[in-house]
């Protein structure tokens, strides 16, 4: 990931399109600890859980203004916050689920996402990759638009 980061940092005049295409060309990917849940309404988990969280995927895209309704929630958490977040999910009647059927995805954040310099760039890049990984038609169309 350090090598990937250095290559990204060498780019200039980055916009979302250039950053996204460059990230796609890089083979390296972080390995996440991820838990998948099926929950009746992810918003109830969001109201119930009190700790810090970082949204990505469909729910972040919806907030950014993409024309979609988020069904699958991808949330990054600090390692120590995973346990209370899981408890909050269970309190709101979530069940463990296969990745294909999950609508609440809790992921432990990698330290590389919290670099003191250029964390905005790293987080933006991660969010773009998560948009791509969501396989959502609207997001895919926007990302591939020239």
């Amino acid at each position: 990931m350090a090598r990937a980061y250095k290559r990204v940092r060498s780019l200039t005049d980055l916009d979302d399109q250039r950053l996204f295409r460059h990230l796609l060309s890089i083979k390296e990917r972080p390995h996440w600890t991820t838990l998948h849940f099926s929950i009746p309404n992810p918003r109830q988990w969001n109201n119930s859980y009190e700790g810090p969280r970082w949204f990505s995927g469909e729910v972040a895209a919806e907030v950014e203004g993409y024309n979609l309704v988020a069904h699958r929630w991808l949330v990054y958490l600090l390692p120590d916050d995973m346990e209370p977040a899981v408890q909050a999910a269970k309190d709101e009647f979530a069940k463990m689920a296969a990745p294909s059927s999950a609508n609440l995805i809790l992921r432990v954040t990698d330290p590389w996402m919290d670099l003191p310099e250029d964390s905005d760039l790293v987080q933006r890049g991660q969010r773009l990759l998560d948009y791509w990984a969501s396989r959502h038609i609207q997001l895919t169309a926007e990302l591939m638009h020239d």
Binding site: P40, N41, Q44, N47, E92, F93
Partner: protein, 193 residues
């Protein structure tokens, strides 16, 4: 409009159309035909089963979702809410804690859970709808009430309603091929919490 309309107003728009009961109070049959003419894509059909007449409102040429419409004529009204007319007692929301004139989610969930055991045997379709209303109010309410909070407020109602869940599943399988299986599974977990 009362009854199912209140559920419609209190749940997320994404699921609101599943609250399919609509109670209309009309003054005469001319009002009924006026209602039909204003909704050209819906057809009002009458269905009789035993002593009861059910008024089904079908969307023509589109989603096969149905809306049950109970139409009360002015001549059937008992007490006045509208200046001299009479309202069938069972259609009234009785002294609810309200947000202005809209019953809040706590009240609606409690009342729906009370309704489930009271349904007659020949209205299993309505009992299925009641379970779906409880599901939508519990998990998709606009007042940000948590499902856990609503469960803790209704221990007795949940226990009573649970006894009728199998009948609702049977109705769902028989009439819809299990369309609401996921919702009924989730509401079962909530009833058993």
């Amino acid at each position: 409009m009362i009854g199912g309309w209140a559920v419609y107003e209190q749940v997320d728009p994404l699921v609101a159309q599943q609250s399919r009961d609509v109670d209309l109070i009309i003054h005469d049959k001319n009002t009924l035909w006026a209602f039909n003419s204003q909704l050209p894509h819906w057809g009002l059909q009458w269905r009789r089963k035993g002593r009861n007449t059910f008024n089904d409102c079908h969307l023509i040429g589109g989603d096969p979702m149905k809306i049950f419409v109970d139409i009360f004529k002015a001549s059937d009204f008992k007490e006045s809410l509208l200046g001299g007319s009479r309202v069938p007692k069972q259609s009234l929301v009785k002294a609810p804690p309200t947000l202005d004139w809209l019953p809040d989610v706590d009240f609606l969930v409690k009342e729906k859970l009370k309704t489930i055991p009271r349904r007659q045997r020949d209205v299993e379709e309505k009992r299925l709808k009641d379970f779906i209303d409880v599901y939508n109010l519990t998990f998709y309410n606009k007042q940000d009430k948590s499902a856990r909070e609503l469960a803790e407020a209704n221990p007795d109602g949940r226990e009573m309603a649970l006894q009728y869940l199998d009948a609702a599943r049977h109705q769902d399988n028989a009439s819809r091929g299990g369309l609401y299986q996921v919702q009924l599974d989730r509401i079962e977990a909530w009833l058993r919490a």
